[in-house]
């Protein structure tokens, strides 16, 4: 898949930009407002495909696969990484990785037979935490990080937190102070602090243990996502719900006259017009991005670093289509958000349509 990125780039986690102290180019280096294609991973004369991206505040990790040789590796770009190389620094001992997860302090790699969590701040010889998966069983199959067999991984000790087996955990999203869990039966559970209404139980009280979101009872949910202080889930039939706080209004600078900080403590349907089916959703600290089955990308929330992709630095309460992709008829298939940026995967086959289109246009001239 080819990937594009936009938003916060102060650590060159999206792309390397010529930095100078001049006002304009400084701003352009730090905030990438227009979707920019990520460099490919080139190793020798093999071009690897990027199958997965995960991003934190200052970094971006990419899982590259070489389909033919069934090999894979992980590269990390951003703070502390080699800017000059194509896509960051290749992580030693990452060959064979099948799933990757990054936080501001740790990088977790899942392999067929083990899972390891490495400290990104200290150069250590051994992982901070690891787990051996039984050789025969594919107990990691079907799970994605931060879920691991029997529980999940967090970025601070104790890294491993158990989850009750009967929950049937399928997907887990971690916010700054809460967690959102999707079970195999399509139910959603949340726990953690709830002072912004992000747990979706209708109040602001914290929950120590996973509690089902009753407002979604009866609906089969297909995916969940968590931002800093908000939660989003998508029903299996691709309509949408969210339970959220107001991630967009945190500005204390008070440029607006009457800023009302609103709390949405129950899940509310997100209005995406025109009506469309959502394929995937991802949340940054204070913004949300959704890719539709029609290949469009919608974003909303905090936009001051260009993370909404509308080529401005304004925030938006309403979902808006990212015209960059629509204009070029680029078909968006996946979206992953870092804290203050957004990464978008596009379908290569559709690209050929574009290439042909350009070739034809060229001929006409």
């Amino acid at each position: 898949m080819r990937w594009f990125g936009f938003g916060f780039n102060a650590f060159a986690q999206i792309c390397d930009v010529d930095k100078s102290d001049e006002g304009e180019s400084c701003a352009a280096a730090v905030k990438v407002s227009s979707p920019t294609e990520l460099s490919e991973h080139v190793d020798g004369n093999r071009r690897w495909k990027t199958s997965q991206i995960t991003a934190s505040w200052s970094r971006r990790a990419a899982l590259h696969g070489d389909g033919e040789l069934r090999d894979s590796c992980v590269c990390v770009a951003g703070f502390g990484s080699d800017v000059s190389s194509c896509c960051g620094t290749c992580v030693a001992h990452s060959y064979g990785c099948v799933n990757v997860f990054i936080s501001e302090t740790h990088l977790t790699l899942a392999f067929p037979h083990k899972i390891e969590t490495w400290d990104l701040q200290k150069k250590e010889e051994t992982p901070s935490w690891s787990m051996d998966l039984e050789a025969q069983s594919d107990c990691f199959a079907g799970l994605t990080l931060p879920l691991v067999p029997g529980g999940y991984i967090q970025s601070n000790p104790p890294f491993y937190r158990p989850l009750s087996a009967h929950m049937g955990a399928k997907r887990l999203a971690l916010g700054a102070e809460h967690a959102v869990l999707l079970t195999a039966s399509g139910a959603v559970y949340t726990w953690g602090l709830g002072s912004h209404g992000q747990l979706g139980h209708g109040g602001l009280t914290p929950e120590e243990k996973p509690k089902p979101v009753e407002a979604l009872w009866g609906m089969i949910m297909g995916s969940v996502s968590a931002g800093g202080w908000h939660s989003v889930c998508v029903s299996e039939d691709c309509s949408k719900q969210t339970g959220a706080s107001s991630p967009e209004d945190p500005q204390e600078e008070g440029k607006q006259e009457d800023v009302f900080i609103s709390i949405q403590a129950f899940p509310a349907l997100v209005d995406v017009t025109p009506l469309c089916e959502i394929r995937t959703v991802s949340c940054g600290s204070r913004h949300t991005a959704a890719a539709t089955t029609a290949g469009d990308l919608y974003t909303w929330g905090w936009g001051e670093y260009g993370q909404l992709g509308h080529q401005t630095f304004s925030s938006s309460d309403e979902p808006q289509r990212v015209e960059f992709f629509a204009a070029e008829q680029i078909y968006v298939v996946d979206v992953v958000c870092g804290n203050w940026n957004t990464f978008v995967a596009i379908n290569e086959e559709i690209d050929l349509r574009i290439e042909n289109k350009h070739r034809l246009e060229h001929l006409e001239i």
Partner: protein, 408 residues
């Protein structure tokens, strides 16, 4: 005004090496790196845009940490990071011959650092604010006349003063000795009004607190204001505005929409040291647990127009409520009668009664009328002793400024 930048430089460390940035590893290396970039730009020839950009990154990331978890668990180092962000931003605003608007923005930024951040570099933000304020004052000499008329405008309102019945009146004593106060009131936890004990305060003498004076000392400073009639109401909220804006909008009512605003329960005197010099810690605080150790005494400012209400509630410490400007109607109930006061159940409001004291709903709260109480009109120069856990209801009768001292 390029001299302003020179003055700011003179209070900063001489160079990068002397500007220390030390944090625990709770602050990730990436953030520490960003702080170092800001520091480097401070002493280099970086453009204002670039400096602002990087300072804002520090502010945005630390702001998120300040909003993660409960406030009292926020790591102090993150609050320091936020304060550094404010310092770098204020410096960036003042770098290139700033307009008055930029200077005011810098003051506001420093205030955010003082309100939300933790002390850095020997309280450098206080020093910066002082510099910026003197810069603004220099261009404002001419406008001082105007404000004198404003004060007269406010005096005209006649307060709706409740008549205090003698048998319910809070006792008053004049300048009691430490011993007699201790024996007669502190030990038995009996409320009383102390007269004459703050006569010497500069706030009542050569620095008499008036609208003009407060504007001159603190006009451009940002303070937290409670909006909405009382904190138990659904539409109650807090906002951050300058002292000038607060006075214009909520005291003088210049925008005419009669919104209710109260500068309440704010440690103003930590934020604005000049005002701290106008008040004195009551001697009687030394009768407390730690002999009146200042560090353990919380001093709050309460400044607002007529009609501000604090619903009936109790506090976990002893309180001296000093009245400096105007007057307040206060009612007191003993903790022994808590059962007749219908406190809220929720953990957040369990120290607050559900009853509206001056307009009680006796159908919902029938026992309320059976609760005995004391009441008073607290006047300028009075200090009310509210014993720990004693329920109290307060309504300002006119423009009012009180200072409370919470001690144990």
């Amino acid at each position: 005004m390029a001299s302003l930048w020179r003055k700011i430089l003179s209070i900063l460390p001489g160079n990068e090496e002397q500007f220390l940035l030390q944090f625990s590893d709770r602050v990730e290396s990436s953030v520490q790196e960003m702080l170092k970039v800001c520091r480097q730009q401070l002493y280099a020839d970086t453009s204002s845009t670039c400096r602002m950009l990087h300072a804002q990154i520090v502010l945005d990331v630390s702001w998120e940490r300040l909003n993660t978890g409960t406030w009292r668990h926020v790591d102090k180092d993150w609050r320091r990071v936020y304060a550094y962000g404010c310092l770098f931003k204020a410096a960036a605003l003042c770098r290139e011959d700033p307009t008055e608007e930029k200077i005011l923005q810098a003051v506001r930024t420093c205030d955010m650092g003082l309100l939300m951040g933790a002390a850095i570099m020997d309280n450098i933000l206080h020093v910066v604010v002082k510099l910026l304020q003197s810069e603004i004052r220099r261009s404002h000499k001419a406008e001082e006349r105007e404000e004198e008329h404003e004060a007269k405008r406010i005096k005209i309102e006649s307060p709706n003063v409740p008549v205090i019945q003698d048998e319910r009146a809070v006792l008053r004593i004049k300048c009691p000795s430490l011993e007699s106060f201790n024996t007669g009131y502190l030990r038995p936890l009996k409320p009383v009004i102390l007269e004459g004990i703050i006569e010497h305060w500069p706030a009542l003498n050569h620095h008499a607190w008036s609208i003009e004076y407060l504007r001159s000392v603190a006009g451009c400073r940002t303070v937290p204001v409670e909006v909405g009639s009382r904190y138990t109401d659904e539409n109650w909220s807090q906002t951050l505005i300058t002292f000038n804006e607060f006075i214009d909008r909520y005291i003088l009512n210049k925008d005419g929409d009669n919104a209710s605003g109260y500068l309440a329960q704010h440690q103003l005197f930590d934020q604005i040291p000049e005002l701290k010099e106008d008040i004195v810690l009551p001697d009687y605080c030394c009768l407390g647990d730690d002999e009146g150790d200042e560090d353990n005494i919380t001093v709050n400012a309460w400044f607002g127009p007529a009609g501000t209400v604090s619903p009936l509630h109790q506090d976990p410490q002893q309180n001296f409520l000093a009245q400096v400007v105007g007057s307040k109607y206060i009612r007191l109930y003993s903790p022994e009668d808590t059962d007749k006061l219908y406190p809220h159940q929720s953990p957040l409001l369990h120290n607050t009664s559900q009853v509206d004291v001056e307009n009680p709903d006796l159908q919902r709260f029938p026992e309320f009328t059976k609760a005995p109480y004391r009441e008073c009109v607290l006047q300028r120069g009075d200090v009310l002793f509210i014993p720990v856990q004693h329920w109290h209801y307060v309504r300002s009768l006119e423009l009012s400024f009180s200072v409370s001292f919470w001690w144990s």
